[in-house]
């Protein structure tokens, strides 16, 4: 039996199929999110073969209706995916297209606490893309450019609109492109670490989402938390992988019984 996880994000859609018994990955596909989102998903699904599907990501509600598949939140999916790639993982950081999520796991790998931006996407993946394009960099080059830069410039705003103006202003004042790129990366990491600190910085950290492919972000994150950061081989696949694995494990319904809280049933008079 094979199970599939579909992660519908604001910038890309991933599909991972696993062997239910072993959890081994059979296939992993990714496409960019377009206005024809439903068709994109349908095509991805048509090319794969699986017995059961679980969806996650910001488009999960659409998929629930379109493909009649159950859904879980990205938080649960990423937590599961992170434990699959690093068994002792206790913290997950996911920088996606428009959300940044920090998730703390307990010793069993269950979600203990989480934080997620809810009114502003400053510092998320899309911010990174916009700043890259303001500097005339491709997103793939941007991290490398940041690695070549030196600390010294401080980006004063995290609003994408104002930051873009600030970047343009820095260019016209003759600042070096790598140094500006570095400043952008440092600003994102500052904001991200603040979110991490509200959740937990204790224990092995898995950095996921497309932004984890950016080596400059990884390096700065390691500097900031003073330790190694684990980046999976395909960090953008973690949500889909987690969903596929959760689909393989029948998700128990009902409240958890290990909270040490008995539900009181008042005696019926």
């Amino acid at each position: 039996m094979r199970t599939a996880g579909l992660d519908i994000g604001s910038r890309s859609v991933e599909l991972v199929v696993v062997e239910a018994r072993s959890g081994a990955v059979v296939s992993a596909q990714e496409v960019e999110t377009t206005p024809a989102l439903r068709e994109d998903c349908r095509r991805l699904l048509a090319e794969a073969s699986y017995d059961r599907l679980l969806v996650t990501g910001y488009g999960r509600n659409l998929a629930e209706i379109a493909f009649d598949a159950p859904s879980v939140t990205e938080i649960k999916a990423y937590a599961r995916g992170a434990r699959a790639v690093l068994d002792e993982c206790r913290v997950v950081l996911d920088i996606g297209g428009q959300d940044t999520k920090a998730i703390a796991l307990d010793g069993e790998g269950r979600v203990d606490r989480f934080e997620m931006n809810d009114r502003c996407a400053a510092g998320a993946g899309r911010f990174l893309e916009m700043m890259a394009s303001a500097l005339g960099c491709s997103i793939e080059e941007f991290g490398e450019e940041g690695l070549r830069g030196e600390n010294g410039i401080h980006l004063s705003t995290m609003c994408a609109v104002f930051a873009e103006s600030e970047v343009v202003g820095l260019i016209t004042r003759g600042a070096r492109r790598p140094d500006i790129a570095r400043a952008v990366h440092r600003a994102i990491i500052r904001r991200t670490v603040a979110m991490l600190s509200r959740v937990s910085r204790e224990g092995p950290l898995v950095f996921a989402g497309g932004a984890a492919r950016n080596r400059c972000l990884v390096l700065l994150l390691e500097e900031e938390i003073g330790g190694r950061v684990f980046v999976p081989e395909r960090p953008e696949m973690l949500g889909a992988l987690g969903a596929a694995l959760l689909a393989a494990e029948a998700i128990p319904a009902g409240p958890r019984s290990d909270r040490g809280r008995e539900r009181r049933r008042p005696p019926l008079a």
Partner: protein
């Protein structure tokens, strides 16, 4: 919404009919989506549906009839204003809503943008001429709870007759005696407004009326301790919202009828959600009608809200005024004492509230607590961390939400609520 024609009545009150029509349409649709879509609702909720359908109709007509009889309509925005004193002078006490995003543009011409939604809303209703309750008021009573409201009443006084009572920030002897003297000042003001002297008999009757309402609400809450929950949190919130402006005697009778029905449900084990649905306690800022956003998100995702540690909830209705007072002064002492026990976050320290949240989460068998703070509400946002720590000691997880009345963050809040429920399941 209402089938009756109240155009003349609204016109006389100076309501902007066109904008009001739009508001009522939106409200009707909102109510349909959030309330009428529920399955297995108690029959007794039909009364609430009716009240809502006539929210700016029949009840306003009643108020205008009361005015014609020479009775005064007093609007309030806070639990600290004792309804008993208004009723004792044969007045009508209306807790004004301020739970909708209306007249924001007009409100933001006067108020800073970074003002909590509740304050913006009551200004918006006034400036956009959309609330017949506000327009019917002979007097609005303000109170110095948070800085936002305290300063807003100064500006509101340019638009309506406002009388502000001082609520202290500490609960020592100085605070207590200030509070008692403010209760006296309020009583004098109400006597002056109504042209009536508050008598011991009148005040005792008012105390009994309001206590009866609180007892009915406590009865409702006690029924919600049952698994499965016999009524949804949305419906319970609505009941708590309506109690601020419905006729107290009629409301109490109707609520007791509903509780009879819920009693029967409890006996037969009938619930609005499966027994295994996660049970949530909501704690924090008041949710004034029609602010139903967060409860709707929580319940549409399969949880059931079993209690409200809120001004529109148990914080406002727990504790009765003793019915033993013999003189007006003695009763005012007892009223002052009862209201002084309310554990609003504007007080420092406010340890009582931590105890209440823990006690309520235990009593209602909550699996988790959702802490609700309005954006820019410093007192509750600041206390959220303390509440979280207090609950952690009991192993009860908490989710912090800070939001306003807008819908822009609906999907994000929903994701966070779903993730929280996944933790609890």
């Amino acid at each position: 919404m209402s089938e009756n024609d109240y155009t003349d009545m609204w016109t006389n009150l100076g309501i902007d009919l066109e904008a009001h029509d739009r508001l009522m349409k939106t409200l009707g649709q909102f109510y349909g989506d959030i309330y009428l879509s529920q399955t297995n609702r108690p029959e007794g909720m039909k009364y609430l549906d009716f009240v809502l359908s006539e929210i700016h109709g029949l009840r306003i007509r009643e108020l205008l009839e009361a005015k014609n009889e020479g009775r005064k309509i007093v609007g309030t925005f806070c639990l600290y204003v004792p309804e008993e004193i208004v009723l004792a002078a044969d007045g009508v006490c209306i807790g004004l809503c301020a739970g909708a995003e209306v007249g924001t543009e007009q409100a933001e011409q006067i108020l800073p943008r970074n003002t909590c939604a509740l304050i913006k809303s009551f200004f918006g209703f006034k400036l956009a001429r959309l609330c017949p309750y506000t327009e019917s008021c002979d007097l609005v009573i303000g109170e110095t709870t948070c800085d936002g409201k305290t300063k807003a009443y100064e500006l509101f006084a340019e638009l309506a007759d406002v009388f502000v009572i001082e609520v202290p920030n500490t609960k020592g002897d100085a605070g207590r005696s200030l509070w008692r003297s403010e209760i006296g000042r309020l009583k004098n003001k109400i006597e002056e407004l109504s042209g009536r002297t508050i008598t011991a008999d009148g005040l005792r009757a008012a105390i009994e009326t309001v206590n009866a309402k609180r007892r009915a609400l406590a009865r409702l809450n006690a029924l919600r301790e049952t698994v499965p929950a016999p009524i949804s949190g949305r419906d319970a919130l609505l009941i708590n919202q309506v109690q601020f402006y419905d006729d107290p005697v009629r409301f109490t009778a109707k609520l007791n009828e509903l509780c009879d029905e819920l009693d029967d449900r409890v006996q037969r084990g009938i619930g609005v959600a499966p027994a295994e649905a996660p049970r949530i306690l909501v704690s924090g800022c008041p949710m004034a009608a029609p602010n139903w956003k967060v409860p709707y998100i929580i319940e549409k995702n399969g949880a059931v809200i079993v209690g409200e540690e809120s001004c529109v909830g148990e914080r406002g209705t727990r504790n009765l005024v003793p019915e033993t007072g013999r003189s007006v002064d003695e009763m005012l002492d007892q009223i002052a004492e009862r209201y002084f026990r309310i554990d609003c976050a504007v007080f420092t320290p406010n340890e009582d509230r931590m105890g209440h949240v823990r006690e309520m989460s235990e009593r209602y068998g909550a699996n988790g607590v959702v802490h609700y703070a309005l954006q820019f509400c410093t007192p509750y946002a600041m206390e959220a961390g303390k509440v979280e720590r207090a609950l952690k000691a009991d192993g009860v997880p908490m989710l912090r939400i800070e939001t306003d009345y807008g819908m822009e963050d609906f999907a994000q809040i929903e994701t966070r609520v779903q993730a929280f429920l996944e933790i609890l399941r």
